[in-house]
Symmetry: C2
Subunit: 345 residues, 2 copies
DNA sequence: TTGTAAGCGTTATCAC
DNA sequence: GTGATAACGCTTACAA
C-alpha cells in the first residue's frame, strides 16, 4: 500500500504538505502544489492508513454495537426481534455516512460490563450504541459511571440522564386505540408485557390514555400480560374467551407483532374470524406481518429515522465537551392492513 | 488511560521489559521482574492500546462483514432471511474467540467493489467474510483479483478457487425426500428457486438424486420455481392444484421456509389440511417455523458450526503465506415437526 | 507557502 | 536479563 511518503516523493513535496492538501486543513497551499499533490495521490492510488491516522488523533472512528441483548436470543426460537435486526442496517449506514463504522460484538448474557469495559480500556471504540435497553439497564449504568460516550435506542430509568432516542410507544398505541374507537369498537383489550417492562408500560399507558380520552372505562379484564412470545398471544385469546360472551373484547392491541401472531393463530383455531369477528393490531411491523392472513394492521417503528437520529446525536456527544443530554421521542405510524373491521354487534 | 510507560514507571523497569512480559514473547525475563510488571499493570488497570498495537504490527484484528447483500433487502418486506441474521451472532462470537472483531458495513446494491476496495486501501480490515454469495459474485471475483484474504459462507462459480464453507443443500434435500419416501409418498414435488440460483440448484440436485435413488421417475410438473417470497409459495400451490387430481403431489419440499409458509397458507386457504392431506418441508429453520400451525418440518442449517468453521478457516488463510484453498460442506439436519404425514391414498 | 520534526503507544532489534 | 531506541504512518506545531 502506498503511504504518504510515496505521495510526497511523487509530488516532489514534503509529507506535511500532502497532509495539508488531503485534509483540506491549512488553506495556505498554493493552487499548483495542491494540484500536484492531488494528482500524485490519484496516480499512485493513495488512501490514508486509518490505523495511523487513528493513533495520531487518538480515536478509532468505530462505534461499538452489541447485537444480542435480551436473554434467550441465541436459539432460533428466541431470535424473533427482527426490528433490531432491521435497525442495524440503518444504524450502520448512518454511521458510515458520518465517517464511522460499526464494530459489532457479543457478550455473555447478564454480564455486559466486562466486555464493554475491555472495549473501552483497549481503546477499541469511540462510543457505543445501545439497543434494547431495559429498566435498571446495567450497560447504561456502567457507561454513565465510566463517562464513556454512548447513545441508546430505548429508554431506561427516568432518573438517569443519558442521550437516547426511542419510539413513542404511548403515542403509537393511542393511534391504534383511536383507530379502533373510530371503527366503533367499545370492548378493546390490550396484550401487554410484564410489569417490569419499561417499553411495555409506555405502550400500555397509550392504551389507558386513549380510552380515557374517548371517555371509555378501563376494564381490568381487558389487560393481559405475557412474554414476547407467540405462545403468550395464544394464551391471551384463551383468557379473553373465558370472559362472558357479552364482555369478550371485539378488538385487541398487542404490544408486539409476535404476540399478535399468536393471537391470530389461536383466534383462527377457535373459528374467530380475525379481520371480521375480531380485530387485531400489532406493534413493530416485523417482516412477516404483511404476509399473514389477514395482513396485520400494525404500528410501524420509524427505524430508519431512529438510526439516523442516534448517529447524529452521537456526533453531538462526541464533538461537544459539554454533553447536554438530548432525548428524542419519535412517533410511530399506524399501518392499516386487513386485520381490523368494525365490530359485528 | 494508562499506557505502557505508566506500567514501566510503576514497575521500575523499561517499556521494553513490560512489553516482553505482557506479550510472553521473550522468555528471558526473571521471575521477580515478571511478577512486578504484572502486578503493576494490574494495579493501574493497564490494557494495551489496540490502535498503537495495530499500527506497529500492521494489522487491525478487524474482519469486514457486509450484512446486507441481496437486492431488496432494505425494506421490511425484503428483510426475511433471518438465517443470515442469526448467523452473524455466531460469526461475531467465533471472531471474538479468535481475537478479532466484526466490522459490519453496508454497500450500495449491485456495486460492492468500491466499498470493499476502500476498506482494503485504508487498511481498515484484515479480511472479509462474505455471505449470500451468488453465481458470478462480484465480491468474490474482486477479492480474488486483489489477493485480499477472505472466506465465504456460500459457494460461487466452481472454477474460482477460494475458501468457502457451505451448507450441503443437496444432502439436506435428499434427507427430506428420503423421509417423505419412507413415509410412503410417491408424488413428491419441489419448490425451487430460479435457474440462475446456485444454492437453489444444489438443493434441486438433492431432490433429483433422492428420487433417482428411490427408483422414482422425475415428473417435470413437480418442479416449480419461484422467488424467495411467501407469494411464490402460494403460486406454487395454485400450480400444483391445477394438475389432474390423481397427479397432484402429496408432499412438497420447499427450498426455503419462507416459501414453505406461502405453501402452507395457500393450502390452508384451499382446505388442504397440511400435515395430513399435504406434507410440507421447508429449508432453513427460520425462527417462525416452530410456531406455525402445523409446526413446520424443515432442514436446519448448521449455523453455529458454519460461523466457527469460517473463522477457523480465516485464521488459516491469515496465518499461512501459502493459502491452499480449503472448502467445507456441512450437512444440515432434518428437524421433524408436524407438517408431514403418510399420504392418505 | 512549505518543510522539519515531535509524538501518538506499541513492538522488536540491538546493545549492554 | 534488561534498557535504549527505531519504526509503524500519520497530523500538526513551529520554523524557515
Amino acid at each position: 500500500m502506498p503511504t504518504i511518503k510515496d505521495v510526497a516523493r511523487e509530488a516532489g513535496v514534503s509529507i506535511a504538505t500532502v497532509s495539508y492538501v488531503l485534509n483540506n486543513k491549512q488553506a495556505a497551499v498554493s493552487a499548483p502544489t495542491r494540484r500536484h499533490v492531488i494528482e500524485a495521490a490519484e496516480r499512485i492510488g493513495y488512501r490514508p492508513n486509518v490505523t495511523a491516522r487513528n493513533l495520531r488523533s487518538s480515536q478509532t472512528r468505530l462505534i461499538g454495537y452489541a447485537w444480542y441483548d435480551a436473554p434467550g436470543n441465541e436459539a432460533p426460537s428466541g431470535r424473533l426481534n427482527s426490528v433490531l435486526e432491521w435497525f442495524t442496517f440503518y444504524l450502520a449506514r448512518a454511521a458510515e455516512q458520518a465517517g464511522y463504522h460499526l464494530l459489532t460484538f457479543t457478550y455473555p448474557i447478564g454480564e455486559p460490563e466486562p466486555t464493554y469495559h475491555e472495549l473501552i480500556r483497549t481503546g477499541r471504540v469511540d462510543a457505543f450504541v445501545l439497543a434494547g435497553t431495559v429498566a435498571d439497564d446495567a450497560r447504561v449504568q456502567f457507561l454513565i459511571e465510566q463517562g464513556f460516550p454512548f447513545v441508546s435506542f430505548g429508554r431506561s430509568n427516568p432518573e438517569w440522564q443519558f442521550p437516547w432516542v426511542d419510539t413513542d410507544g404511548k403515542e403509537g398505541v393511542q393511534q391504534a386505540v383511536n383507530y379502533l374507537v373510530g371503527l366503533g369498537h367499545r370492548r378493546i383489550a390490550m396484550l401487554g408485557w410484564p410489569e417490569h417492562s419499561l417499553t411495555g408500560n409506555f405502550r400500555l399507558a397509550g392504551y389507558l390514555e386513549a380510552l380515557t380520552q374517548a371517555g371509555m372505562p378501563v376494564n381490568p379484564n381487558y389487560i393481559w400480560r405475557g412474554d414476547h412470545t407467540v405462545q403468550a398471544g395464544r394464551d391471551a385469546v384463551e383468557w379473553f374467551c373465558r370472559l362472558p360472551a357479552s364482555e369478550q373484547p371485539t378488538a385487541i392491541v398487542a404490544v408486539s407483532d409476535l404476540m399478535a401472531i399468536g393471537l391470530m393463530q389461536e383466534a383462527a383455531r377457535r373459528g374467530l374470524d380475525v379481520g371480521r369477528r375480531l380485530s387485531v393490531i400489532g406493534f413493530d411491523d416485523v417482516p412477516m406481518t404483511e404476509f399473514l392472513r389477514p395482513a396485520l394492521t400494525t404500528i410501524q417503528q420509524p427505524i430508519p429515522e431512529i438510526g439516523e437520529a442516534l448517529i447524529s446525536m452521537l456526533e453531538t456527544v462526541l464533538n461537544k465537551q459539554e454533553a447536554d443530554v438530548a432525548n428524542l421521542l419519535i412517533p410511530p405510524r399506524l399501518v392499516i392492513r386487513d386485520s381490523c373491521a368494525p365490530p359485528l354487534d
